[in-house]
Symmetry: C2
Subunit: 350 residues, 2 copies
């Protein structure tokens, strides 16, 4: 592929929180764009956005929107992806989808480039971007899987409200001010906009992200469990998750317990692998109180790992604290990385 | 012991967050008090507090303060307990100590009445109140230990700032307002007042509670690990902890993974034991989005448990979400319970 080749790119969900980040990254990374098309629902169509100093009018997504498009980046919710991704593929575009619509489809690669970039090659027009909380965990687990093998994973998450969208952000800000003013907090969005009950998130913690499944786990928890097995190519890996929404705007943090196949390892052995891993930054020094936090990871592309400790009883058990910006590596940046890989490896044709 | 017998009670740390709760509970529970003495540091001495409509002047604690005292309730920090608890004992008082000063002393019972009330009987003048995050966890684990046996416990905590004192509460409120105003947040207290570095807690998460130990764990994590084994009389129980400070004022929440000795159990089996356990309230119904949160547990005495799920891979593994007011069951209420037990069981003489 010619070095100077450029591509027609569509961003579906251009006015959403992730869409905005995608557009910003396409600019910053100087993505090889010939023409960019910004698509949205009817409601947001007509809005004007600026891309590389040029004003672009957001258009309503239709089946015909994808004519001539090479790469379509979807982040407008699962129903929009289900409705329009097939049209995009029919018109010859390759879709990178940020929703849960196709993630567990066996014909759709589910990709975190640092973990399973080669899966992109087998796409049939759609590549799925994993759930935000899954992405950062598998990025941190991959170097340990490669070197030591994985036996089991138990994760408890500390997730930002921005994963529930801009309205959830607004709700946190409003409730926080209400609480500080001594007023009653109004809860209308979280934990799940479409669910029956809503609870205040400000100065609180909600152990529900997405709706409950029949087995008592939430859909977010099942996403972490199932997606991790698929991305890491370990259908038999034991993964358990408890997902909790917390009152901060950006970055998910995760308390991860991992049991390795190999025994007798030290914290230094684990540090060594994390330190040289792609996309992972080790921030771990108890003597200087060095560890990542949601605020310190905000607006960054990498996955940050700290608090690596050896379990005091299980010879092959380690605990760690994994933090990353849920809208960046957890969504927009991982999407851009997949698109870049499609081009770099000449995997674009579907 | 005569039913109408009353006692001379000293509250050390009367002006602190826990001290205030203790005084309030002594009132509300109609604790059989003959005379109450409110003690503090020199700095807070002279303050006036109201107990049962009577104004009481807070006095500076000295070795002589404990003459004639039957029960001394300490919550003024470890150094104050180390300095004055022996004086109180020498004067014939029984000390219930809320600090970490004596918890791991083999001559000092470490007690959560729902778990090991009988340990109080062997006291030699001092009974220790466990760490807040430990108390609520062992209260929830005890019914499972009794019926099914425990194999291992892995906990990730979600802890309120009030565990770090009134100044930390003020810091969270101030930083929250600064952030909402678009101003820079000032961090001077958390994660640990006496430690070198301070980070904002508002709209953030800090994976450090108390200072780091040589093994890479924080002191809070080691408290949970060691105290749990002592209270539950299982020195060989595997316990692992990751402790995280979060931006809410009241109640600690905990994501607890527990492996039981007995296999083949259902969620219903676990529910049955939790439902009839003393001091535990089961709030667990996914179909109605029923689970405890820090706000829902605030100002209550009980330990609330929800989100009970069977591990999807480990036959004897269960996950649950445990929430309790860290200043109530986690501190003041547990202290009062111990004092009540001393009287009820005629265990007061040291």
């Amino acid at each position: 592929m010619a070095e100077n080749k450029t591509f027609n790119v569509a961003v579906v969900g251009a006015t959403g929180a992730v869409g905005e980040k995608i557009i910003k990254l396409l600019e910053e990374k100087d993505f090889p764009i010939n023409e960019i098309k910004l698509l949205s629902s009817k409601r947001s169509a007509g809005n004007k956005l600026v891309f590389k100093d040029k004003e672009i009018i957001v258009e309503e997504a239709t089946d015909d929107s994808f004519k001539g498009i090479d790469i379509a980046l979807f982040s407008a919710g699962g129903s929009v992806s289900k409705r329009f991704a097939p049209s995009a593929v029919k018109h010859g575009a390759v879709v990178v989808d940020n929703t849960s619509a196709f993630r567990m489809d066996e014909n759709v690669p589910l990709v975190v480039p640092e973990v399973n970039e080669e899966d992109i090659a087998s796409h049939q027009g759609i590549i799925a971007n994993p759930n935000c909380s899954t992405i950062q965990m598998v990025a941190a687990l991959k170097p340990l899987q490669d070197k030591f093998g994985l036996k089991r994973v138990i994760v408890s998450t500390y997730q930002a409200v921005s994963g529930a969208g801009t309205q959830a952000n607004n709700e946190l800000a409003e409730q926080s001010q209400q609480f500080l003013n001594g007023e009653e907090m109004q809860a209308e969005i979280l934990p799940v906009k479409g669910d029956e009950k809503h609870y205040p998130i400000a100065f609180n913690a909600l152990p529900q992200i997405d709706v409950f499944q029949e087995n008592g786990y939430t859909f977010e928890e099942m996403k972490m469990i199932n997606e991790t097995k698929k991305i890491m190519h370990e259908p038999d890996l034991s993964v358990a998750a408890t997902c909790v929404r917390l009152p901060f705007f950006t970055s998910h943090a995760e308390s991860v317990y991992v049991e390795l196949d190999q025994k007798g390892l030290s914290v230094q052995d684990v540090w060594n692998e994390l330190e040289k891993a792609n996309g992972v930054v080790l921030e771990d020094n108890p003597s200087t109180q060095t560890y990542p936090t949601p605020l310190s990871a905000a607006n960054k592309e990498e996955v940050f790992v700290g608090r690596v400790r050896k379990d005091l009883d299980y010879e092959n058990g380690f605990h760690m604290w994994v933090v990353s910006d849920n809208l960046m590596k957890g969504a927009a940046w991982n999407t851009i990385q997949i698109a870049e890989s499609l081009i770099k490896n000449n995997w674009l044709k579907n």
